[in-house]
């Protein structure tokens, strides 16, 4: 199985572990991730306004580049995933954006949302299959109680992301079971950690992150997993009332597959 892969800027710098463990695990699972030959930063947050065009171009370039190679596009960082999937939806549904983007890019063939975008977790669920992963696990995390942290970006807006049920998701829980551990259910798994607001309002981010951790810890979690470098930062740095470890899910996958 071959996919085009968009790592994004943070996975090349502060979140190298998220990327590295994803790549070696994919290989062990029979998936080839081909990094796009050229890609640009997605901008971190989806440009919400209808008249934002230039800010969507980097996503369209990535989408079109994967499409030209005939591949689906796999993303990993929750933020890149959110931006690229939402821009792809614009390219499928918003005539004005499609027209202006294509006028600007002058591609060999106009792009209209043809590429399919998958988060790495969706790739595990839909292309590999959690049962298959379970078979390949040599080092199960038996008895470890893990809180899956979705945050906002993986799930919302549900109608566009189509990642999982936005209010009652199960993909991370299924992932946790596949690596032999035990998912903990807690109410704040799909509430915000504070996001980029941490840059100028630490106290707000601290409140949000501590709320998430309090909920996870009181449900008995020993560990939290995430797909987002900013969630990891907020929970670790701003969620300082709780001492629970926060890991990228790919790190645990590599560990369970005996690659770490």
């Amino acid at each position: 199985m071959v996919f085009s892969y968009y790592p994004g800027c943070t996975l090349k710098t502060k979140a190298k572990d998220l990327d590295r463990y994803a790549r070696i695990s994919a290989e062990a699972l029979g998936v080839t991730l081909e990094e796009l030959p050229e890609w640009q930063c997605c901008g971190g947050v989806y440009p919400v306004a209808k008249d934002e065009i230039a800010t969507k171009l980097s996503s369209v370039r990535a989408l079109n580049s994967a499409g030209e190679m005939g591949n689906d596009l796999v993303t990993l960082c929750s933020a890149c995933h959110n931006v690229i999937k939402q821009v792809n939806n614009d390219m499928r549904t918003d005539e004005n954006i499609v027209l202006k983007v294509n006028n600007y890019l002058k591609l060999d063939k106009p792009y209209a949302g043809e590429t399919n975008v998958l988060h790495y977790l969706e790739m595990l669920r839909d292309a590999v299959g959690f049962d298959k992963i379970k078979e390949k696990v040599t080092n199960p995390l038996t008895g470890v109680k893990i809180a899956p942290y979705y945050g906002c970006l993986l799930l919302r807006p549900g109608s566009v992301m189509q990642f999982d049920d936005p209010e009652n998701p199960s993909i991370m829980e299924d992932f946790i079971r596949a690596i032999g551990a035990e998912p903990v259910s807690y109410s704040m798994r799909n509430e915000c950690c504070g996001g980029y607001v941490t840059l100028e309002n630490k106290s707000l981010a601290a409140k949000k992150s501590n709320n998430v951790l309090e909920s996870a810890v009181s449900a008995g979690a020993q560990m939290v997993i995430t797909a987002c470098p900013l969630c990891l930062y907020n929970l670790n740095k701003n969620g300082s009332d709780y001492d629970i470890p926060v890991h990228y899910f790919t790190e645990l996958l590599a560990q369970a597959l005996g690659l770490k």
Binding site: T10, K14, V48, A49, R156, C192, G195, P229, Y233, K237
Partner: protein, 129 residues
Amino acid sequence: MENKQQLTEQILRMSGVNARKCMRCGKCTATCPSFDEMEYHPHQFVYMVEKGDIEPLMKSESLYTCLTCFACVERCPRNVEPAKLVEAVRLAVIREQGANHLKPQDLPELWDEDLPQQAIVSAFRKYSK
């Protein structure tokens, strides 16, 4: 008067929101993780934009305490999408010349060594043009 109407139309056009669909149930505000940090809550953005009362919103710090978490968008029973109005009002402010809320020279003081790039690019996209 004319200006007020133009500004309102601009906000509605940029956001793509139809504020008249709101039935004032308050669910967006009830679910907003930032509601106690926002002087104007998401439901107030909706009805103030509907009334054309944009200027107080433009002056409010609430534009920078909304987390763009999209909880209000997901959970509004009428599909009003309040966060898109918050975004449009914020853009109406920062698109004015010299009105950037975050400037590159602010960064050294705000930065710490663990901060992911993602936080910086996101904040610039939200707060500056």
